[in-house]
């Protein structure tokens, strides 16, 4: 744990490029793992070295612990950054790295197990006096699920113990739908995560998704970098994120940040991580959701308002350095909003849209940042997820950030594949967004139905897609 000279970037897409650039900033060499499909990607051209670890199929490349760890040894890396997704929250990878003398850029395998298992983390939070949503521990059959659901009240959410990023979740409105839902969710969780354990939670109607960014070094220093509001969601997938979470009353925000710090301290957390909470708008209370033991997609909004480079901090922490900041040093300037530009067609039920980027022209200007691996002529592959870019807009306050975002989204030109840009352009102009009234159901229940009706009545869409 002292010094890093060469880091394996075990990921792809925008986060791979983000990590490669942080390595450059830290003066550390970067080696990128690529599948056969990504050999010519922009991250591959930007990294100092490249190692091909397998075919396009993720299970044989980016999801193979053996391939990734071998690649680190093969190229003489002393560190490994897993990015997000793929193997980033697999304790086996952290443990293999530890065994083979490669510094894993993230917490220990043990911390990942204790924090990443949703049911264990709920129990830990409860034991620390942190509110958790009404719900169950692990359930194994329909009868158990029905008992819990009856107790906490419908609607309920079925969640996979090993899920994450919104995957493995199912909303159940009534008792009669429960049996088939338990069966389906269990099968899906087994298929996706190799672990069929589920748990049941009461579904909060008017909820905001609020999360707290944590940084902790190996010397016992831990700070939080404030909160993010990630309530813009579709199918439990985040679409837009804001920082700070100013729509939540200040006393509640302070309590949430304290809870996050308490929980991460109890996990002996080292590295960058996030604690997610649900805020019930009606009752003005919050409850713990889960811990993410990795850098998150939406980390840039926090970087924009704090001026702290979270990925560089990850590298320094792994190199054994002490945090250069105390909690008092963390200050917040302005407001930031991030938009996920996905290769999905919002006019066609968000159908994935791989293909050739004929035109790719992100806006650039003061307060704007685009994190992306795309370029004109890039062929978006069918094998991987649909995130093309994150557009981050920073203003002196939320109104300024929204005004900038409106112009930036209008100026963002993409042709060749359908993207979620038109959705964001509609969203940013909506009165509820302007008034900061967005709760987790809002996109699906309020915005999308009206937006689709508006499209049906309007002239043919101008956006080429």
């Amino acid at each position: 744990m002292s010094g890093l000279t060469k880091v394996l970037v075990a990921n792809r897409g925008e986060i791979a490029l983000r990590v490669i650039r942080a390595c450059f900033d830290e003066g550390v060499r970067s080696v990128l793992t690529v599948s056969e499909a990504d050999r010519d990607s922009l991250p591959a051209r930007t990294a100092d070295e490249v190692v091909v670890i397998g075919p396009a199929s993720t299970s044989l490349s980016y999801l193979s612990v053996g391939a990734v760890v071998s690649a680190a040894l093969f190229t003489g890396c002393d560190g490994l950054h897993p990015g997000y997704g793929f193997l980033s929250e697999r304790p086996e990878l952290a443990e293999a790295c530890a065994r083979l003398g490669v510094s894993f850029i993230g917490p220990s395998g043990d911390t990942i197990r204790r924090g990443g298992d949703k049911i264990a983390a709920r129990e830990l939070a409860r034991s620390l006096g942190i509110p958790i949503g009404a719900g169950s521990g692990a359930i194994t059959d329909v009868a158990q699920a029905a008992a819990v659901a009856a107790e906490v009240g419908y609607p309920v959410l079925l969640k996979a113990a090993d899920g994450g990023g919104g995957r493995g979740m199912l909303l159940v409105g009534s008792a009669e739908d429960l049996p088939s839902a338990v069966e389906r969710a269990g099968a899906e969780a087994r298929a996706a995560f190799g672990d069929g354990r589920l748990y049941v939670e009461h579904f909060v109607d008017d909820a905001r998704h609020v999360e707290v960014q944590i940084l902790a070094d190996a010397h016992g220093n831990l700070v939080h970098l404030g909160d993010r509001d990630c309530s813009y969601q579709r199918r439990y997938q985040k679409l837009v994120e804001e920082a700070p979470a100013i729509a939540v009353p200040a006393p509640l925000r302070r309590a949430i940040a304290e809870a996050a710090v308490t929980l991460m301290r109890a996990l002996d957390y080292v590295g960058a991580g996030t604690v997610e909470f649900l805020v019930d708008e009606r009752t003005g209370t919050f409850s713990f959701l889960e811990v993410n033991t990795r850098v998150q997609v939406e980390h840039p909004v926090t970087e924009m308002v704090t001026g702290i480079d979270i990925v560089r901090e990850q590298l320094r922490i792994t190199a054994g350095e002490r945090l250069s900041i105390t909690q008092d040093d963390v200050t917040f300037t302005g407001h930031a909003i991030e938009f996920r530009i996905n290769a999905e067609d919002p006019y066609a039920d968000f159908a994935p849209s791989p293909g050739l980027l004929d035109v790719w022209l992100p806006p650039a200007g003061a307060g704007l940042r685009t994190d992306s691996h795309c370029h004109p002529g890039y062929r978006v592959p069918a094998h991987y997820d649909s995130l093309l870019a994150k557009l981050i807009c920073h203003g002196a306050d939320r109104a300024a950030a929204l005004a900038l975002a409106t112009r930036a989204l209008d100026a963002f030109r993409v042709e060749g594949v359908a993207t979620t840009l038109p959705l964001h352009r509609g969203l940013i102009r909506h009165a509820d967004v302007r008034a900061h009234r967005v709760i987790t159901r809002w996109v699906e229940q309020t915005f999308l139905p009206a937006w689709s009706r508006g499209l049906a009545h309007a002239a043919p869409a101008q956006e080429s897609h």
Binding site: A37, I53, P55, G66, F74, A382
Partner: protein, 161 residues
């Protein structure tokens, strides 16, 4: 830079300890291929080849076209059989997950609506259902292969044909 002997040795040592079946890496012109036979006592084999191809770091700033895999010619229609085309581009999966039994193999009887395969498109798993009841007479696409929209995934001889 490049790959040094001690780095290859480190991979070998890790492979000996690990429970991995096969590792194939290439970087900077050095290829490393390690595999173990499925049978219990088989010897592990390894194979390192030194620079043969140019550096894998691509040198062109202009993207090259990736030719799509087009498995079968559409004209080779089995007489009297219905075709099941790919509803979108994507990756063809025979089974729900690695190791699971295939949804449908040549010779299987299927009912209309039965899942025949999954087309994975940008992490979205689309189940492809049998359009008619019948017998699978052809399944030309290999597991994990990339298909384009309209490619023939299966041919089914309907029961009433």
């Amino acid at each position: 830079m490049g790959v040094e002997y001690r780095q290859i040795a480190a991979v070998l040592a890790a492979f000996e300890q690990g429970d991995w079946d096969e590792i194939h890496l290439s970087s900077d012109g050095v290829e490393l291929h390690l595999s173990v036979e499925a049978s219990a006592n088989a010897a592990r084999t390894w194979d390192v080849s030194l620079p043969v191809e140019p550096s894998v770091t691509a040198t062109s700033g202009v993207a090259t076209e990736v030719p799509a895999t087009r498995p079968v010619a559409a004209e080779m229609v089995a007489a009297g059989a219905d075709t099941v085309p790919a509803p979108s581009p994507g990756i063809f999966w025979r089974a729900a997950r690695p190791g699971a039994p295939p949804f449908a193999e040549v010779g299987d009887r299927v009912s209309a609506g039965d899942t025949l395969c999954i087309i994975e498109l940008m992490k979205l798993m689309n189940h492809v259902a049998a359009p008619v009841a019948g017998t699978v007479v052809e399944a030309p696409v290999g597991n994990g292969q990339q298909v384009e929209q309209g490619d023939v995934l299966f041919r089914i001889r309907p029961d009433d044909a």
